[in-house]
């Protein structure tokens, strides 16, 4: 395909693979896809010279030029709409929300245009809509939300949320190559978390969308979770191990469509299910997973399905309030103990 792009590579390209943080892994993924496929481009607010609010797109504009790294006005509907239009023309846009909270401003374009185009007239929208989600960084009600349940009820969209650098790179690449619109949520607490630094392969790889991962094997109870809460679950599992409880942790990775097989296989093995997410509990995707387990694994259950989420409030700013709002390791440990004793 002929493009108008001048490739005067001023910037140094980042290494392939190596020991990376979460944010570096995502940047590597986008970078490699832009190199591999001229149709891939980045669009969003302050993604160019500034490199994005969290520096996910840092350096891209110097390497690929302003034609492929497009700064926009503060207009999420325009960002999503333009990504959709470009995708219809055969491009592969990667659109950034500065904070995922602002996805509400593009909600209509996502749920009514992007999600329904293929169904309505066979025109797929191969676009990625990504941005930082999540609380725990004292950013208040508008820079901390988790929005997956807003979109759970919209067939036509896919939703992905990685919990570690390996998956982040593999999933962003898979999302960019996917023929349908993918919402890609990045928990901002993970971006530079030293504990997550991890060696990832030098060679090209993807993590298939729609496949969950067993983050920790166990036999007594399944904690089904995703994103930053995988760390909460693993911390709780370690504590519970000292009490002799053998916890399995399922990292969903893809939220839509859910990997039903992995969820059900785990519950059928451990016979106890604890669902953990960071969004408020009421109407959260925990209800969907609980429903699935009740319908398809009822006979294997030895205890009721339990959902843990944030309390049903906006995300408060002040640290003690935010801590109270969010599910903590202690809450997971308590719930697991009760479930195990049932």
């Amino acid at each position: 395909m002929a493009t108008a792009l001048k490739k005067e590579h001023k910037a140094e390209r980042p290494a392939r693979g190596g020991v990376v943080t979460f944010v570096e892994a995502i940047r590597q993924g986008i970078w490699e896809e832009m190199e591999r496929d001229e149709r891939v481009f980045v669009i969003g607010e302050d993604v160019g010279v500034y490199g994005g609010a969290f520096k996910v797109t840092d350096g891209l504009i110097d390497y690929f030029g302003p034609e492929r790294v497009i700064d926009t006005p503060i207009s999420e509907a325009a960002i999503v709409g333009a990504a959709c239009g470009a995708a219809l023309m055969g491009m592969r846009p990667v659109a950034e929300f500065q904070f995922i909270d602002f996805i509400s401003c593009g909600f209509d374009m996502l749920t009514n245009f992007a999600a329904k185009c293929r169904y309505r007239w066979g025109a797929g929208i191969p676009a990625v809509f990504r941005g930082p989600c999540g609380a725990g960084v004292h950013a208040g009600p508008f820079h901390s939300q988790n929005v997956e349940s807003f979109f759970m009820n919209t067939p036509g969209l896919k939703m992905v949320e990685p919990s570690n650098p390996y998956d982040a790179k593999g999933l962003i690449k898979a999302a960019i190559r996917d023929p349908d619109p993918v919402l890609f949520f990045e928990h901002k607490k993970l971006y530079r978390l030293p504990r997550l630094r991890q060696e990832i392969p030098e060679e090209d790889y993807i993590v298939e969308i729609g496949r969950a991962r067993v983050a920790r094997e166990g036999h007594d109870l399944s904690i089904i979770t995703f994103g930053a809460q995988v760390l909460t679950a693993l911390d709780a599992a370690e504590e519970l191990e000292r009490e002799g409880l053998d916890i399995e942790v399922i990292d969903l990775r893809t939220l839509l469509p859910l990997d039903k097989e992995t969820i059900l296989a785990s519950v059928r093995k451990t016979n106890r299910a604890l669902i953990l997410h960071e969004a408020p509990r009421t109407g959260g995707i925990g209800g969907e997973i609980a429903g699935l387990i009740a319908e398809e694994a009822f006979e294997w259950l030895d205890a009721p399905v339990v959902r843990l989420g944030a309390i049903d409030t906006p995300v408060p700013y002040s640290p003690p309030l935010e801590e109270y709002h969010l599910p903590q390791v202690k809450d997971v440990v308590d719930a697991a103990r009760r479930l195990a004793a049932y």
Binding site: W121, P155, G156
Partner: protein
């Protein structure tokens, strides 16, 4: 030309030694629009290297042509006494509830055109085709063969057809529900429209969506959604992609006096303007958004006034003059394609039917409908073609007969299509996948 200049002079009061252009601008009620458009055009010229010597917006051109060409029954004296009898100005009066003088009998279209005779007849074909397809849809609706509603563009067909005709193969449109004329002009066959309205399996959406809610990338037709304004950002993306792909295409996004109140309209047009994308936004000012009149929709006098807010040229055209619609859009298309950026065209027209067939239009004054009936764009174009010696009545009748014959076949094809197989509902949500029957969980199977 001399008579046109005279008409302008009569319309203006004494202007002393001021320049002709300045005087002209002041006579128009939308003087500030004219000025804004010229400033924007000139700014664009300075930046983009595009220069068009005559930057008089088509508002003036279209209206003066109408005055010059239309054998108005009124005397010159009455016209000079009431400069507000010029089409666009009359229109504004109607919006404000003032009774306008009925002087529309005998009106023809703009005389200045680059269209050949053959093109003008093709334009007539699409205009009449649009009218007759809709009439056929109403018949089918009354026979209960249309599953949903029927949304007429009666009285405003010239806008959709005339503007779309200015595009070239490879250019794109995003129509609204009342832009059937643009869809047909883009080469979509009437059978597709009939099958869509009747929810048939052979329709382009295979029964998944209604009316003109489908698209055809090959023919440059992006399928719209019901959420007004959303197509402006989408078309911005189409043009961003085209620029990256080095395709010199332009696009028209249609919007109305109602749709322009949405946030998506603003975000999309602002972004297109910032990126200097070749997007023509055609604002069909048809006076009603469902039942809401324009003055409850916006406080501006002319929708084109809004162009100034985006730093782009704004034009006003008589939306019932198909030649003027074509010429204005052609100019905007040339300007956009040569790098000038986005353009807003307001087409002043009128929706003579309700929102859909079920709507009894109780909110519309009778006189208003009668007035606009006299301004019917099809009658007007027929009068233009015959009075200017472009076509005979018999030739037009032949075209109409050909369309009617064509529509018989198209309707028969659509009627012969089956309804879709029920389980097709589960297909095409994602690429190559079928949605499982989620509401039939295994535990309930016995």
């Amino acid at each position: 030309m001399a008579s046109k200049r005279d008409a302008k002079k009569k319309g203006s009061k004494a202007h002393g030694g001021r320049s002709a252009r300045r005087a002209k601008a002041e006579t128009a009620q939308a003087a500030h629009v004219v000025a804004a458009a010229e400033v924007a055009l000139n700014d664009a010229d300075a930046g983009g290297g595009h220069r068009d010597g005559d930057t008089v917006p088509s508002f003036e051109v279209a209206l003066n042509d109408a005055d010059a060409g239309g054998p108005s029954p009124k005397s010159d004296a009455s016209r000079s006494a009431a400069p507000a009898t010029r089409a666009g100005v009359r229109f504004v009066e109607i919006v404000e509830g003032v009774q306008a003088p009925a002087i529309d009998e005998g009106l023809i279209c703009s005389l200045e055109t680059s269209l050949t005779r053959e093109q003008m007849l093709e334009l007539y074909y699409y205009l009449k085709l649009t009218r007759l397809v809709e009439e056929r849809l109403v018949n089918l609706y009354r026979q209960n063969k249309v599953i949903g509603g029927v949304y007429r563009s009666l009285g405003q067909e010239a806008t959709a057809v005339g503007t779309c005709y200015a595009l070239e193969r490879g250019d794109f449109i995003a129509p609204l529900i009342r832009d059937l004329g643009a869809v047909l002009t883009k080469g979509i066959r009437p059978r597709a429209i009939f099958a869509q309205y009747m929810a048939k399996a052979w329709g382009p959406s295979e029964g998944r969506d209604l009316n003109i809610h489908f698209g055809d990338m090959e023919r440059g037709f992006i399928g719209p959604i019901s959420h007004l304004g959303d197509m402006i950002p989408v078309m911005t993306g189409v043009l961003l992609a085209a620029r990256m792909q080095q395709k010199k295409i332009v696009a028209i996004a249609y919007i109305g006096d109602g749709g322009m109140s949405t946030g998506a309209f603003h975000e999309g047009l602002n972004f297109a303007a910032v990126q200097r994308l070749p997007l023509i936004v055609v604002a069909e000012h048809n006076c009603y958004a469902y039942s809401t009149p324009t003055h409850k929709q916006t406080a501006v006098k002319n929708l084109a006034d809004k162009a100034a807010a985006y730093g782009i040229p704004g034009y006003i055209v008589d939306g019932n003059d198909i030649i003027a619609c074509y010429e204005t859009t052609k100019r905007a298309v040339d300007f956009a394609r040569s790098g000038g950026g986005a353009v807003l065209i307001e087409a002043k027209t009128y929706r003579r039917k309700g929102h859909a067939e079920h709507d009894d239009q109780r909110y519309v004054p009778r006189e208003e409908l009668e007035l606009w009936e006299k301004r019917d764009p099809v009658d007007r174009y027929e009068r233009h073609l015959t009075s200017q010696g472009i076509a005979t009545r018999e030739e037009l009748d032949q075209i109409t007969a050909r369309i009617k014959q064509e529509l018989e076949e198209e309707v028969a094809w659509a009627e012969s299509s089956p309804l879709p197989e029920p389980e097709r509902a589960a297909y095409n949500v994602y690429d190559n996948s079928i949605v499982p029957p989620a509401f039939r969980p295994k535990v309930l199977e016995r």
